[in-house]
Symmetry: C2
Subunit: 212 residues, 2 copies
Protein backbone atom coordinates (compact mmCIF):
# COMPACT_ATOMS: atom_id res chain seq x y z
CA UNK A 1 0.00 0.00 0.00
CA UNK A 2 1.01 3.65 -0.49
CA UNK A 3 1.77 5.95 2.44
CA UNK A 4 -1.74 7.50 2.23
CA UNK A 5 -3.33 4.08 2.66
CA UNK A 6 -0.95 3.24 5.51
CA UNK A 7 -2.05 6.48 7.17
CA UNK A 8 -5.73 5.63 6.67
CA UNK A 9 -5.41 2.07 8.00
CA UNK A 10 -3.30 3.06 11.02
CA UNK A 11 -5.02 6.33 11.89
CA UNK A 12 -1.58 7.97 12.00
CA UNK A 13 -1.14 11.12 9.89
CA UNK A 14 1.17 11.07 6.85
CA UNK A 15 3.32 13.78 8.46
CA UNK A 16 3.82 11.63 11.57
CA UNK A 17 4.60 8.54 9.46
CA UNK A 18 7.27 10.55 7.59
CA UNK A 19 8.67 11.75 10.91
CA UNK A 20 8.91 8.16 12.20
CA UNK A 21 10.63 7.13 8.94
CA UNK A 22 13.23 9.92 9.39
CA UNK A 23 13.75 9.01 13.05
CA UNK A 24 14.25 5.34 12.19
CA UNK A 25 11.20 4.11 14.13
CA UNK A 26 9.63 2.64 10.99
CA UNK A 27 11.54 0.73 8.29
CA UNK A 28 11.52 2.32 4.82
CA UNK A 29 9.00 0.94 2.34
CA UNK A 30 9.97 -0.76 -0.88
CA UNK A 31 10.89 1.96 -3.37
CA UNK A 32 8.64 1.94 -6.45
CA UNK A 33 9.85 5.17 -8.04
CA UNK A 34 11.13 8.63 -7.09
CA UNK A 35 9.31 9.72 -3.91
CA UNK A 36 7.15 6.59 -3.98
CA UNK A 37 7.28 3.53 -1.77
CA UNK A 38 5.11 0.54 -0.99
CA UNK A 39 4.28 -0.47 2.60
CA UNK A 40 3.00 -3.78 3.88
CA UNK A 41 1.41 -5.44 6.91
CA UNK A 42 4.78 -5.38 8.67
CA UNK A 43 4.80 -1.55 8.49
CA UNK A 44 1.24 -1.30 9.75
CA UNK A 45 2.05 -3.57 12.68
CA UNK A 46 5.22 -1.65 13.55
CA UNK A 47 3.35 1.66 13.32
CA UNK A 48 0.75 0.44 15.81
CA UNK A 49 3.50 -0.74 18.15
CA UNK A 50 5.29 2.64 17.96
CA UNK A 51 2.03 4.49 18.69
CA UNK A 52 1.41 2.21 21.65
CA UNK A 53 4.83 2.84 23.16
CA UNK A 54 4.79 6.61 22.58
CA UNK A 55 1.14 7.59 23.00
CA UNK A 56 0.02 5.13 25.63
CA UNK A 57 3.29 4.11 27.26
CA UNK A 58 4.68 7.64 27.30
CA UNK A 59 8.12 6.68 25.93
CA UNK A 60 10.26 9.26 24.15
CA UNK A 61 11.25 8.89 20.48
CA UNK A 62 14.81 8.01 21.55
CA UNK A 63 13.69 5.42 24.12
CA UNK A 64 11.35 3.84 21.57
CA UNK A 65 14.17 3.60 19.02
CA UNK A 66 16.49 1.98 21.59
CA UNK A 67 13.83 -0.57 22.37
CA UNK A 68 12.95 -1.42 18.75
CA UNK A 69 16.60 -2.31 18.05
CA UNK A 70 16.21 -5.39 20.21
CA UNK A 71 13.00 -6.46 18.52
CA UNK A 72 14.67 -6.51 15.12
CA UNK A 73 17.93 -8.26 15.98
CA UNK A 74 18.33 -11.03 13.41
CA UNK A 75 19.64 -14.49 14.24
CA UNK A 76 19.16 -14.02 17.96
CA UNK A 77 17.04 -16.40 20.02
CA UNK A 78 13.66 -15.41 21.44
CA UNK A 79 15.02 -15.70 24.98
CA UNK A 80 17.87 -13.32 24.25
CA UNK A 81 15.70 -10.79 22.46
CA UNK A 82 13.19 -10.88 25.31
CA UNK A 83 15.96 -10.36 27.84
CA UNK A 84 17.53 -7.48 25.90
CA UNK A 85 14.19 -5.79 25.24
CA UNK A 86 13.20 -6.07 28.91
CA UNK A 87 16.61 -4.69 29.94
CA UNK A 88 16.14 -1.76 27.60
CA UNK A 89 12.61 -1.21 28.88
CA UNK A 90 14.03 -1.07 32.39
CA UNK A 91 16.57 1.53 31.45
CA UNK A 92 14.45 3.80 29.32
CA UNK A 93 12.32 4.75 32.28
CA UNK A 94 15.31 5.79 34.37
CA UNK A 95 15.41 9.51 35.11
CA UNK A 96 18.10 11.91 36.20
CA UNK A 97 17.68 12.19 39.94
CA UNK A 98 19.59 13.30 42.99
CA UNK A 99 20.00 11.01 45.96
CA UNK A 100 22.21 8.61 47.89
CA UNK A 101 22.76 5.49 45.74
CA UNK A 102 24.47 3.55 48.56
CA UNK A 103 21.61 3.94 51.01
CA UNK A 104 19.12 3.22 48.24
CA UNK A 105 20.94 0.01 47.26
CA UNK A 106 20.80 -1.13 50.90
CA UNK A 107 17.04 -0.50 50.99
CA UNK A 108 16.61 -2.53 47.79
CA UNK A 109 18.88 -5.33 49.09
CA UNK A 110 16.82 -5.59 52.29
CA UNK A 111 13.60 -5.66 50.29
CA UNK A 112 14.89 -8.34 47.89
CA UNK A 113 15.87 -10.47 50.89
CA UNK A 114 12.55 -9.98 52.69
CA UNK A 115 10.62 -10.91 49.53
CA UNK A 116 12.86 -13.89 48.84
CA UNK A 117 13.56 -12.66 45.32
CA UNK A 118 16.52 -14.50 43.79
CA UNK A 119 18.19 -11.42 42.36
CA UNK A 120 21.74 -10.14 42.75
CA UNK A 121 21.44 -6.54 43.98
CA UNK A 122 24.50 -5.58 41.88
CA UNK A 123 22.70 -6.86 38.78
CA UNK A 124 21.84 -4.08 36.26
CA UNK A 125 18.22 -5.21 36.65
CA UNK A 126 18.30 -3.56 40.08
CA UNK A 127 19.76 -0.24 38.94
CA UNK A 128 16.47 1.31 37.90
CA UNK A 129 14.81 0.50 41.22
CA UNK A 130 17.86 1.84 43.09
CA UNK A 131 17.55 5.12 41.13
CA UNK A 132 13.85 5.38 41.92
CA UNK A 133 14.37 4.60 45.62
CA UNK A 134 17.23 7.15 45.84
CA UNK A 135 15.00 9.77 44.29
CA UNK A 136 12.09 8.98 46.62
CA UNK A 137 14.41 9.07 49.65
CA UNK A 138 15.59 12.51 48.50
CA UNK A 139 11.99 13.77 48.64
CA UNK A 140 12.00 12.98 52.35
CA UNK A 141 9.23 14.41 54.49
CA UNK A 142 7.15 15.57 51.53
CA UNK A 143 5.55 12.14 51.08
CA UNK A 144 8.79 10.32 50.20
CA UNK A 145 9.39 8.79 53.63
CA UNK A 146 5.76 7.66 53.78
CA UNK A 147 6.11 6.00 50.38
CA UNK A 148 9.34 4.17 51.27
CA UNK A 149 7.87 2.94 54.56
CA UNK A 150 5.35 1.09 52.40
CA UNK A 151 7.73 -0.31 49.80
CA UNK A 152 6.83 -3.89 50.84
CA UNK A 153 3.19 -3.25 50.05
CA UNK A 154 4.14 -2.01 46.57
CA UNK A 155 6.45 -5.02 46.14
CA UNK A 156 3.58 -7.41 46.85
CA UNK A 157 1.50 -5.63 44.19
CA UNK A 158 4.44 -5.90 41.75
CA UNK A 159 4.85 -9.61 42.48
CA UNK A 160 1.22 -10.33 41.72
CA UNK A 161 1.48 -8.36 38.47
CA UNK A 162 4.74 -10.06 37.42
CA UNK A 163 3.41 -13.56 37.97
CA UNK A 164 0.67 -12.98 35.40
CA UNK A 165 3.04 -11.08 33.10
CA UNK A 166 5.28 -14.06 32.61
CA UNK A 167 2.34 -16.37 31.93
CA UNK A 168 1.05 -13.94 29.29
CA UNK A 169 4.44 -13.66 27.58
CA UNK A 170 5.01 -17.39 27.33
CA UNK A 171 1.58 -17.94 25.76
CA UNK A 172 2.00 -16.72 22.11
CA UNK A 173 3.25 -19.43 19.74
CA UNK A 174 5.12 -17.06 17.40
CA UNK A 175 8.47 -15.64 18.68
CA UNK A 176 7.95 -12.12 17.27
CA UNK A 177 4.50 -11.98 18.87
CA UNK A 178 6.00 -13.03 22.22
CA UNK A 179 8.52 -10.17 22.19
CA UNK A 180 5.87 -7.64 21.15
CA UNK A 181 3.49 -8.90 23.82
CA UNK A 182 6.25 -8.57 26.42
CA UNK A 183 7.13 -5.02 25.40
CA UNK A 184 3.54 -3.78 25.10
CA UNK A 185 2.48 -5.63 28.24
CA UNK A 186 5.28 -4.04 30.21
CA UNK A 187 5.27 -0.46 28.94
CA UNK A 188 1.57 -0.03 28.14
CA UNK A 189 0.69 -2.32 31.06
CA UNK A 190 2.23 0.26 33.41
CA UNK A 191 -0.14 2.89 32.03
CA UNK A 192 -3.08 0.50 32.37
CA UNK A 193 -2.23 -0.33 35.99
CA UNK A 194 -1.88 3.39 36.72
CA UNK A 195 -5.30 4.23 35.22
CA UNK A 196 -6.96 1.29 36.98
CA UNK A 197 -5.31 2.22 40.29
CA UNK A 198 -6.82 5.70 40.00
CA UNK A 199 -10.30 4.27 39.50
CA UNK A 200 -9.85 1.68 42.25
CA UNK A 201 -8.85 4.55 44.57
CA UNK A 202 -12.10 6.33 43.76
CA UNK A 203 -14.04 3.15 44.50
CA UNK A 204 -12.11 2.58 47.72
CA UNK A 205 -12.59 6.20 48.84
CA UNK A 206 -16.32 5.88 48.24
CA UNK A 207 -16.44 2.68 50.25
CA UNK A 208 -14.58 4.25 53.19
CA UNK A 209 -16.84 7.32 53.02
CA UNK A 210 -20.02 5.24 53.13
CA UNK A 211 -18.69 3.16 56.02
CA UNK A 212 -17.32 6.14 58.00
CA UNK B 1 17.68 31.58 53.56
CA UNK B 2 18.99 33.01 50.28
CA UNK B 3 18.50 31.25 46.95
CA UNK B 4 22.09 29.83 47.07
CA UNK B 5 21.34 28.16 50.41
CA UNK B 6 17.97 26.87 49.12
CA UNK B 7 19.87 25.35 46.19
CA UNK B 8 22.43 23.73 48.50
CA UNK B 9 19.83 22.29 50.88
CA UNK B 10 17.58 20.98 48.11
CA UNK B 11 20.27 19.81 45.69
CA UNK B 12 18.44 21.73 42.94
CA UNK B 13 20.55 24.18 40.89
CA UNK B 14 19.93 27.94 41.22
CA UNK B 15 19.11 28.06 37.49
CA UNK B 16 16.41 25.40 37.93
CA UNK B 17 15.01 27.15 41.01
CA UNK B 18 14.74 30.40 39.01
CA UNK B 19 13.03 28.50 36.20
CA UNK B 20 10.49 27.03 38.64
CA UNK B 21 9.89 30.54 40.08
CA UNK B 22 9.19 31.90 36.56
CA UNK B 23 6.92 28.95 35.75
CA UNK B 24 4.94 29.41 38.96
CA UNK B 25 5.87 26.05 40.45
CA UNK B 26 7.52 27.67 43.46
CA UNK B 27 6.10 30.67 45.35
CA UNK B 28 8.27 33.79 45.33
CA UNK B 29 10.43 34.38 48.41
CA UNK B 30 10.01 37.38 50.70
CA UNK B 31 11.70 40.33 48.97
CA UNK B 32 14.56 41.78 51.04
CA UNK B 33 15.96 44.18 48.44
CA UNK B 34 16.40 44.54 44.69
CA UNK B 35 17.14 41.07 43.27
CA UNK B 36 17.20 39.57 46.76
CA UNK B 37 14.66 37.33 48.44
CA UNK B 38 14.44 35.11 51.51
CA UNK B 39 13.18 31.55 51.33
CA UNK B 40 11.94 29.31 54.13
CA UNK B 41 11.11 25.71 54.99
CA UNK B 42 7.92 25.98 52.98
CA UNK B 43 9.95 26.67 49.82
CA UNK B 44 12.33 23.80 50.50
CA UNK B 45 9.41 21.44 50.98
CA UNK B 46 7.67 22.60 47.82
CA UNK B 47 10.90 22.29 45.84
CA UNK B 48 11.27 18.67 46.93
CA UNK B 49 7.67 17.98 45.99
CA UNK B 50 8.14 19.54 42.53
CA UNK B 51 11.31 17.47 41.94
CA UNK B 52 9.47 14.33 42.98
CA UNK B 53 6.60 14.94 40.58
CA UNK B 54 8.82 15.92 37.63
CA UNK B 55 11.96 13.80 38.05
CA UNK B 56 10.51 10.65 39.57
CA UNK B 57 6.86 10.85 38.55
CA UNK B 58 7.63 12.04 35.03
CA UNK B 59 5.05 14.83 35.02
CA UNK B 60 5.45 17.81 32.70
CA UNK B 61 5.92 21.37 34.00
CA UNK B 62 2.35 22.21 32.95
CA UNK B 63 0.86 19.11 34.60
CA UNK B 64 2.77 19.82 37.80
CA UNK B 65 1.48 23.41 37.88
CA UNK B 66 -2.11 22.22 37.35
CA UNK B 67 -1.73 19.83 40.24
CA UNK B 68 -0.12 22.31 42.66
CA UNK B 69 -3.07 24.69 42.26
CA UNK B 70 -5.23 22.25 44.20
CA UNK B 71 -2.70 21.84 46.97
CA UNK B 72 -2.69 25.58 47.65
CA UNK B 73 -6.40 26.31 47.54
CA UNK B 74 -7.17 28.34 50.67
CA UNK B 75 -10.30 27.84 52.75
CA UNK B 76 -11.12 24.51 51.17
CA UNK B 77 -11.54 21.35 53.21
CA UNK B 78 -9.00 18.53 53.15
CA UNK B 79 -11.54 16.22 51.54
CA UNK B 80 -12.21 18.65 48.71
CA UNK B 81 -8.52 19.37 48.11
CA UNK B 82 -7.78 15.63 48.07
CA UNK B 83 -10.59 15.00 45.60
CA UNK B 84 -9.52 17.86 43.31
CA UNK B 85 -5.83 16.91 43.43
CA UNK B 86 -6.65 13.27 42.66
CA UNK B 87 -8.92 14.37 39.80
CA UNK B 88 -6.12 16.49 38.40
CA UNK B 89 -3.65 13.63 38.81
CA UNK B 90 -6.02 11.45 36.82
CA UNK B 91 -6.21 13.95 33.99
CA UNK B 92 -2.56 14.92 33.73
CA UNK B 93 -1.60 11.41 32.65
CA UNK B 94 -4.13 11.37 29.87
CA UNK B 95 -2.56 11.30 26.40
CA UNK B 96 -3.76 12.12 22.92
CA UNK B 97 -4.77 8.80 21.44
CA UNK B 98 -6.80 7.41 18.60
CA UNK B 99 -9.47 4.82 19.22
CA UNK B 100 -13.13 4.02 19.64
CA UNK B 101 -14.35 5.69 22.86
CA UNK B 102 -17.75 3.98 22.76
CA UNK B 103 -16.34 0.45 22.61
CA UNK B 104 -13.76 1.37 25.25
CA UNK B 105 -16.45 2.71 27.58
CA UNK B 106 -18.36 -0.56 27.23
CA UNK B 107 -15.20 -2.53 28.13
CA UNK B 108 -14.70 -0.32 31.21
CA UNK B 109 -18.38 -0.59 32.18
CA UNK B 110 -18.22 -4.40 32.02
CA UNK B 111 -15.03 -4.43 34.07
CA UNK B 112 -16.48 -2.09 36.72
CA UNK B 113 -19.51 -4.38 36.99
CA UNK B 114 -17.43 -7.58 37.21
CA UNK B 115 -15.24 -6.06 39.92
CA UNK B 116 -18.24 -4.69 41.82
CA UNK B 117 -16.78 -1.20 41.83
CA UNK B 118 -19.38 1.39 42.80
CA UNK B 119 -18.47 3.88 40.11
CA UNK B 120 -20.61 5.58 37.48
CA UNK B 121 -18.97 4.87 34.11
CA UNK B 122 -19.98 8.36 32.91
CA UNK B 123 -18.08 9.87 35.86
CA UNK B 124 -14.99 11.91 34.81
CA UNK B 125 -12.99 9.54 37.02
CA UNK B 126 -13.52 6.90 34.32
CA UNK B 127 -12.44 9.08 31.39
CA UNK B 128 -8.72 8.42 31.77
CA UNK B 129 -9.20 4.66 31.84
CA UNK B 130 -11.52 4.86 28.83
CA UNK B 131 -8.80 6.78 26.93
CA UNK B 132 -6.18 4.21 27.86
CA UNK B 133 -8.42 1.27 26.92
CA UNK B 134 -9.34 2.92 23.58
CA UNK B 135 -5.65 3.40 22.83
CA UNK B 136 -4.80 -0.18 23.75
CA UNK B 137 -7.68 -1.50 21.64
CA UNK B 138 -6.31 0.55 18.71
CA UNK B 139 -2.97 -1.29 19.00
CA UNK B 140 -4.85 -4.53 18.28
CA UNK B 141 -2.82 -7.57 17.34
CA UNK B 142 0.51 -6.02 18.31
CA UNK B 143 0.09 -6.94 21.96
CA UNK B 144 -2.97 -4.75 22.56
CA UNK B 145 -5.56 -7.52 22.32
CA UNK B 146 -3.46 -9.71 24.63
CA UNK B 147 -3.28 -6.88 27.17
CA UNK B 148 -7.03 -6.18 27.10
CA UNK B 149 -7.84 -9.87 27.48
CA UNK B 150 -6.09 -9.64 30.83
CA UNK B 151 -7.60 -6.39 32.06
CA UNK B 152 -9.21 -8.22 35.02
CA UNK B 153 -5.81 -9.38 36.20
CA UNK B 154 -4.51 -5.78 36.10
CA UNK B 155 -7.67 -4.59 37.88
CA UNK B 156 -7.04 -7.02 40.75
CA UNK B 157 -3.49 -5.64 41.06
CA UNK B 158 -4.89 -2.08 41.05
CA UNK B 159 -7.46 -2.98 43.73
CA UNK B 160 -4.79 -4.33 46.05
CA UNK B 161 -2.68 -1.21 45.52
CA UNK B 162 -5.62 1.17 46.06
CA UNK B 163 -6.69 -0.47 49.33
CA UNK B 164 -3.30 0.34 50.86
CA UNK B 165 -3.20 3.77 49.22
CA UNK B 166 -6.29 4.94 51.04
CA UNK B 167 -5.01 3.69 54.37
CA UNK B 168 -1.73 5.56 53.83
CA UNK B 169 -3.49 8.80 52.92
CA UNK B 170 -5.80 8.82 55.92
CA UNK B 171 -2.86 8.27 58.32
CA UNK B 172 -1.12 11.72 58.52
CA UNK B 173 -2.55 13.99 61.20
CA UNK B 174 -1.84 17.26 59.37
CA UNK B 175 -4.12 18.10 56.39
CA UNK B 176 -1.33 19.50 54.16
CA UNK B 177 0.76 16.38 54.75
CA UNK B 178 -2.23 14.19 53.82
CA UNK B 179 -2.65 15.92 50.46
CA UNK B 180 1.10 15.75 49.74
CA UNK B 181 1.21 12.09 50.71
CA UNK B 182 -1.71 11.38 48.39
CA UNK B 183 -0.12 13.20 45.45
CA UNK B 184 3.37 11.72 45.91
CA UNK B 185 1.99 8.28 46.70
CA UNK B 186 -0.08 8.31 43.53
CA UNK B 187 2.31 9.86 41.00
CA UNK B 188 5.65 8.65 42.38
CA UNK B 189 4.00 5.42 43.55
CA UNK B 190 3.25 4.60 39.89
CA UNK B 191 6.97 4.85 39.11
CA UNK B 192 7.80 2.71 42.14
CA UNK B 193 5.31 0.00 41.15
CA UNK B 194 6.71 0.08 37.60
CA UNK B 195 10.34 -0.34 38.80
CA UNK B 196 9.36 -3.10 41.25
CA UNK B 197 7.30 -4.88 38.59
CA UNK B 198 10.39 -4.98 36.34
CA UNK B 199 12.46 -6.59 39.10
CA UNK B 200 9.69 -8.99 40.07
CA UNK B 201 9.53 -10.03 36.39
CA UNK B 202 13.26 -10.84 36.46
CA UNK B 203 12.75 -12.90 39.61
CA UNK B 204 9.74 -14.67 38.11
CA UNK B 205 11.55 -15.38 34.82
CA UNK B 206 14.47 -16.88 36.76
CA UNK B 207 12.07 -19.06 38.75
CA UNK B 208 10.32 -20.34 35.62
CA UNK B 209 13.68 -20.96 33.96
CA UNK B 210 14.96 -23.01 36.89
CA UNK B 211 11.73 -25.00 37.02
CA UNK B 212 11.49 -25.54 33.25
Amino acid sequence: MRVAELSKQSGVSVATIKYYLREGLLPRGESTGPNQAQYGERHLRRLQLVRALIDVGGLSIAATRDLLVYLDEPGVSLGQRLGSAMGSVTQVKRRAVEGDRGAARAIVADLVERRGWEIDVDDPACDNLVEVVAAIAAIGGTGGDALLSEIDRFAVVAEIAARGDLEAVTRPAEPDAAVETAVVGTIVGDTLISALRRLAQVNEAGRLFREG
